[in-house]
Symmetry: C2
């Protein structure tokens, strides 16, 4: 249907569009680790195929048809990540690159059967919602820990940074999806957050608190 490169561009644009209404050439280039000139080339192709709205110098947005493709890629990515963690016992910091390849396996019948095989999971190993076969999913209304008031509590439900180093750090601290935490104190000097978790007290930096998401 679409090439691997096209799918990766559409997915990147979709993700950038969550925070920016119109997505710039440079943003796409940074997110795909490529050059702005390469992005411009691809934008022309995607516009020709009616997958994006694009006029030179004006930034881009996905058309309905482009968004459908992007969401389907994300569905596949997250289902394969779930499979790798739940069935093949990979750790949550090991699965991203494999899923990056597997998301391009074309058959939708295959992914629907995989979904069924796993019992229709609603979130991937990083807490991100998995779109259903119609592309529907609830958007995460999660807050970073840094946005919590002192003495409020919540459940760890997602991450903003998906890098292996960050995930490994969280794992080591026991800060994994589903854990209940409470904010005991925020140190005014550098915004270090003091957490209560189980019977332990631990401190995390402002940086970490910004990237760790909580459902309240």
């Amino acid at each position: 249907m679409h090439t691997l490169a096209e799918e990766n561009y559409l997915k990147a644009i979709y993700k950038l569009a969550a925070t920016n209404p119109s997505v710039s050439t440079n943003q796409i280039a940074a997110s795909l680790d490529t050059k702005a000139s390469s992005v411009t080339d691809m934008l022309r192709k995607l516009a020709d195929k009616m997958l994006i709205n694009y006029q030179r110098y004006q930034g881009v947005s996905l058309t309905q048809s482009g968004e459908k493709v992007a969401i389907n890629i994300i569905r596949k990515h997250r289902l394969w990540e779930y499979f790798l963690v739940e069935k093949l016992n990979f750790k949550w910091d090991e699965v991203h690159d494999m899923a990056e390849e597997m998301e391009h396996i074309s058959s939708n019948e295959l992914i629907d059967r995989l979904d069924e095989f796993m019992g229709f999971p609603r979130r991937d190993p990083h807490g991100d919602p998995i779109p259903d076969s119609n592309g529907h999913f609830k958007t995460n209304d999660l807050k970073p820990i840094s946005a919590l008031a002192v003495s409020s509590a919540g459940v760890i439900s997602g991450v903003r940074d998906h890098s292996a180093v960050f995930l490994q750090y969280l794992e080591k601290q026991g800060l994994t999806i589903g854990k209940k935490i409470a904010v005991k104190e925020v140190i005014s000097y550098d915004n270090t957050v003091v957490l209560q978790m189980d019977n332990k007290v631990l401190q995390i930096s402002r940086e970490v608190a910004n990237n760790l998401l909580i459902a309240i």
Copy 2:
């Protein structure tokens, strides 16, 4: 490691080498549904990478390193086919094209874990042996039904033709892997083979008898 096209060429050469000691440009072109000139181009690249032995006009054979790559692709192909049939309930005639894509997922760690997850199966849904993680496997010493003498018996263990139409025909006749059959008669007029299976008697053409493999 290698491109998708390279992997497909190596696999095709490997399979052709089973029946021909030296593989010709035209054979490869036919098997990959491409043009002879395209094949020549690729053969130069594969020779440069020391994956095949090649001198112009002389046909090709795989080097040890090329064979290792080919066997690994076949291992992946057959394990994914097994997964699709045993875990996702696809039929044996539906899985080939999907596996054709999935065999190119690069991670060997992934395929080893998949192998373990499924209990280290030894044969794919079509009866073909699955190489282990070191590339070792027993070659099928199976005979076509057409080579059986009248009144001899055996177990259906493989197919020579993997096309969906052929597999669907076998399924419909109940001629599936594991079934025990005996040759009752060969009709001299057109070599139609009369089989006893379970409590039924059925006839298959010479063509079918040539493509259905038996362990004795």
